[in-house]
Point group: C3
């Protein structure tokens, strides 16, 4: 039992690190496209990577905050920014846009499902868990877009966004309800969100007006 | 005593539900006017209805959050959105504007006074209670307007807005200080805020520059 | 020991009051430039003065919030607004801009270092302390600029801003590490931030692209 618990928290840790990198990367690229300086780029990467999880921790009253508990997360984003700046000088716009979209889709999946999972651990009712998942997944990207003076992806009439997170969270929570191993349920939930969002971008899937 | 306490919390509950519906409705209409899709409309309704109360609960350190404790609030807004979308297709703009104004005025009154009331219950000093009331009342609408890319009503030079909440909160808190029954003080505070805001919109009442 | 503790908290109190006045003032002037009415001006002054510290308290889980514990802070900003409005009617734009810049630089220094200091008191790791300092120092001004519909100073490609706070916080924390008296370390950290930001504005110092 104890070893399973350790394993699960290792899975969650790995998922969180991957989510941070994916979102930091999307923030990094978008800030570069806006021609910001090094501090601006780091700030946007930081806010995108930690915004959703911070709101999740505030709403669930989890302390210390995840990036306070894991100082290495901060150092990671800081180091990534320093390393990536020289490489990003000549990124073409169309290619940058693609990277942002996929990195964002991955971050969306990873953070949505950890958000739903932590809410479920805190015994919240299921509808609340779903909303916590969606908020955690969506909020970092919303902050990134507001800072970069773009209309947030999530509010644009256009390709499915929050919907993917919504369906991914339900998938994960229902799979867990029927007693599937938690780490498998997690991975399926993440995959559903990521694939659905990627398909939505690729084939311009939208909701009916 | 116990029965009085139950009664009071029932009154507060009813007021909170009414405030949620009023604000959700104003968010719903504004998002429809912006031609958002179903998820966008739900998000804006959700944020408008729960933004002020969530900030209040964060600032007062009240957990669980009110919409976590009452999962039915979430389901209510979700159901309202589903029901209302087909009906709203052909709403004329001028009529929609009117509905937004009145629903917003009602939400403003309801949330301002519950905010002030909960702060007073937590033994905060009176000036802080007033600010908590104003913040709770105003914040949901501010988020709605930011998301919909409008300058928030409260910051526009124009008809009295925060002022109505400010005066409503003082009215409520002073009435309670002189030992009026709490539920009556509450209703008077709400009425003062709502009527004052409605008159301000109707007759274009403004502060001197 | 006890007397030293009292002295330190007196120093922090004085620094906090000075920071509130400086930021409230910068908010006040910017709101006047935007031709807001009295309530708008008070709101912007309030948000600028208390935004950074409130986020700091939320992230560090400090309750009561600093402006709830010190009701006099609220009354101070309220009184300042009432007194200052008649005087500000005929402020020339260029002069107002200068005042905003210096008041903002001072507020940045004062809040950055208190943020870092409170995080250090809460035993946070040093990199987290620095980020808390930067967030506390920068956030009030970001809110002010968003409300006034300006691109936040901190995100503009231009004169050093967050960088000054960043270096000031490191200076303070390292001086404290080598056992300099805390109040002297504090004053040096504040001075470094303020002077660096003022020089950056005066001589248009920027980071390399």
């Amino acid at each position: 039992m104890a070893s399973l618990h350790v394993k699960m928290s290792t899975v969650l840790y790995a998922v969180e690190v991957a989510g941070i990198i994916a979102f930091a990367f999307s923030g990094f690229i978008e800030a570069r496209q806006k021609n910001m300086d090094a501090v601006g780029v780091f700030t946007v990467a930081f806010v995108t990577a930690f915004g959703g999880g911070t709101l999740r921790d505030l709403l669930l009253d989890r302390r210390p905050l995840f990036w306070v508990e894991h100082q290495e997360y901060l150092i990671l984003v800081f180091a990534l920014t320093l390393i990536a700046i020289p490489f990003s000088r000549h990124l073409r716009h169309a290619f940058a846009e693609k990277i942002i979209n996929y990195a964002d889709a991955l971050g969306l999946g990873l953070f949505s499902i950890t958000g739903a999972s932590l809410a479920a651990d805190a015994q919240m009712p299921i509808f609340v868990c779903v909303m916590m998942g969606v908020i955690t997944g969506v909020f970092g990207g919303v902050l990134r877009d507001i800072i970069c003076n773009e209309i947030p992806l999530v509010f644009k009439r256009g390709e499915l966004y929050a919907t993917c997170s919504f369906i991914g969270c339900w998938t994960y929570l229902l799979l867990e309800k029927i007693n599937l191993t938690q780490s498998i349920a997690l991975l399926i939930g993440i995959a559903v969100t990521f694939i659905m969002r990627s398909l939505a971008v690729r084939f311009h899937l939208t909701l009916p007006g």
